[in-house]
């Protein structure tokens, strides 16, 4: 189970443009992992490669020792669910939208949803606190509620791995914490393995137990938040001066930005 996800020499990219170097990492089952890095560092490209959205140039993505590129779309959809940054919502009600997550389990020539499909959808709507919205059109939901519904849809796929592309980037802090707490709960209680792209280093530190830091299409470093979120690493990757300290409440590293004026002040005191 130690090699639940095994990314082996993975390289992918766009013809004549950006391409990833060879990426290697493994994650045990039940990990809550985050991909961090500056804009243009290849986070999304790596994400798309793992999700199967773009063809791999080399290497492989293995889930439970099964090479994902050898599976059918349907088999893959039963193992791995993907929540993109701005989910397309169509013209659907919340319940119909979430029920689409059961498509990978539809038998050939099965025309209607089964009772099981409905009860599974209801279970995850309740878990994500979207059940009271079930008859509303998706369009009328707030951004945070849409994100929760997208996660509920992904959960009805009953995946072993949940991939999320910046699930909190356009949400206010209430919804950020709500979404991340939900993911944490799923991770703890259901043993769901979570891999997400996340911009906010402090949220990454607080919620993830493993971080992958990208720079220029390569994996700069990986490990626990303590190993990765050092001021040296951040300065090398982001080119920005920061101060890292331990959050006294959670015991996790916290990153503080340094303003120009503060830096001058510190320099004056030192010099």
């Amino acid at each position: 189970m130690d090699n639940f996800i095994k990314i082996d020499n993975l390289s992918c990219g766009y013809a004549g443009a950006f391409s990833l170097g060879n990426i290697n990492f493994t994650l045990p089952k039940g990990t809550f992992a985050g991909i961090i890095g500056p804009n243009g560092s290849g986070k999304t490209t790596l994400f798309r490669g793992i999700a199967g959205d773009i063809p791999l140039k080399s290497g492989s993505v293995n889930l439970n020792d099964a090479n994902l590129s050898h599976l059918t779309n349907k088999q893959r959809a039963q193992k791995m669910a993907i929540v993109s940054q701005f989910p397309d919502i169509g013209d659907l009600t919340v319940e119909d939208y979430i029920l689409l997550g059961r498509l990978p389990y539809r038998k050939p020539f099965q025309f209607f949803e089964s009772e099981d499909d409905y009860s599974i959808a209801e279970k995850y709507m309740r878990l994500t606190n979207t059940y009271h919205l079930k008859d509303k059109p998706m369009r009328q939901l707030s951004g945070g509620e849409q994100q929760l519904a997208a996660i509920a849809q992904a959960l009805t796929q009953e995946p072993e791995l949940l991939l999320l592309d910046e699930p909190t980037s356009h949400l206010d802090i209430t919804h950020q914490v709500q979404v991340l707490n939900l993911l944490q709960r799923l991770n703890h209680e259901m043993g769901l393995t979570v891999l997400m792209i996340i911009h906010d280093l402090n949220l990454a530190s607080e919620y993830c137990d493993y971080l992958l830091m990208m720079k220029n299409g390569n994996l700069h470093c990986q490990g626990t938040p303590f190993d990765v979120l050092t001021y040296q690493n951040i300065e090398q990757v982001y080119g920005t001066l920061v101060i890292t300290q331990i959050n006294p409440n959670s015991g996790k590293p916290a990153v503080f930005l340094v303003s120009e004026r503060m830096r001058q002040k510190v320099n004056q005191q030192n010099g």
């Binding site: 779309n73 397309d88 169509g90 659907l92 498509l103």
Partner: protein, 336 residues
């Protein structure tokens, strides 16, 4: 059984009932009035003037109306689904343009007399060529590029209509009349074999489209998400495109250019039953058939004994009804 499925069943049966009533009325009206209560006895009598009118003229015509209207409504629903664009209809993709050009060429070069299949065949070949062009030019490095296909279709539409205008400007008056008459569309088709072909195509198309109801539903969330949900999105889109365009091509080559059905019928169906393709496909088919039967009744009776081209009615009536429906929906949603 879920409430949703019951409402689907109810709506399908309502549409079917409306269609049957429209069909019965349609075969009774015309230059020779036939009382609805007499129809069963006329049909069982097996001869006479009224029997001839019913079986040789009106019933084939109403069947053609259902098949063509149904096919156009269905192809509209399919194409709007795979392009995720509410403005797409069978004719946006240049299929009618290609068919019209085929027919125009046949008329201009006087191949008109080559037999009763010459015009429909020319139309179908023209439509096939267009489909082939849109499809192959829409492929980009082995992948189907949906937006590119759409643009190519629109461009082919423009090019063919310019060529047709050029050909018309250099042709003689009698030929001009033939072209214009064909382009305006008509359900007057004396050849029962062609009607049989169109019926078969429309029924096969309806069944085939239902095999892809699941991909169509998933494609509402985009090609990438559909793939994430286990659908072979790209393959499904390609097969659906071929099904839809063959159906549309066959309709155009037999009935001429009957616009608007494929655009507004799926829209109206969506407003009533929602976006689930499992019901949307059937309602677009039945709705399209119903709409064309009603339009044909108007076209045949409004300036009787003359007859208006059916395309005039579908465009005018359809457009006005559509705008009324749309503004009602706006008002309702403002109130709620």
């Amino acid at each position: 059984m879920k409430k949703k499925y019951l409402s689907w069943l109810f709506f399908s049966l309502t549409l079917l009932a409306a269609l049957i009533i429209a069909v019965i009325y349609s075969v009774s009206v015309g230059e020779v009035k036939i009382s609805i209560s007499d129809i069963p006895s006329i049909l069982s009598s097996g001869d006479g003037m009224d029997y001839f009118i019913l079986t040789k003229i009106r019933i084939p015509r109403v069947i053609l109306a259902i098949a063509v209207g149904g096919s156009l409504g269905l192809t509209g629903a399919i194409l709007q689904g795979i392009y995720r664009n509410p403005l797409v209809e069978p004719y946006t993709l240049g299929i009618s343009g290609g068919a019209s050009m085929g027919v125009t060429l046949v008329v201009i070069f006087g191949l008109y007399d080559a037999g009763m299949y010459a015009l429909p065949l020319a139309g179908f070949v023209g439509a096939l060529l267009t489909i082939f062009l849109v499809y192959t030019l829409g492929m980009k490095r082995g992948n189907l590029d949906i937006n590119r296909m759409l643009l190519i279709g629109v461009m082919i539409s423009f090019v063919t209509s310019s060529i047709i205008m050029f050909l018309m400007s250099v042709s003689t008056t009698d030929k001009l009349h033939g072209i214009v008459f064909w382009v305006m569309g008509s359900l007057d088709e004396p050849n029962t074999n062609l009607i049989r072909v169109i019926i078969s195509i429309s029924i096969i198309g309806l069944i085939a489209s239902y095999l892809f109801a699941r991909p169509l539903n998933a494609l509402q969330l985009g090609q990438a998400k559909a793939t994430h949900l286990g659908i072979n999105a790209s393959t499904s889109i390609q097969i659906l495109f071929v099904i839809a365009s063959l159906m549309a091509g066959a309709c155009v080559s037999v009935a001429g250019v009957i616009g608007f059905v494929g655009l507004i019928i799926p829209h109206m169906a969506r407003q009533i039953v929602g976006t689930d393709y499992r019901i949307l496909l059937l309602s677009s088919f039945l709705g399209g058939g119903l709409f064309l039967v009603l339009s044909d009744i108007i076209a045949r009776t409004i300036i009787a004994p003359s007859e208006l081209p059916i395309g005039v009615i579908t465009g005018m009536v359809g457009g006005v009804v559509f705008m009324v429906v749309l503004s009602n929906i706006r008002r309702k949603s403002k109130l709620s």
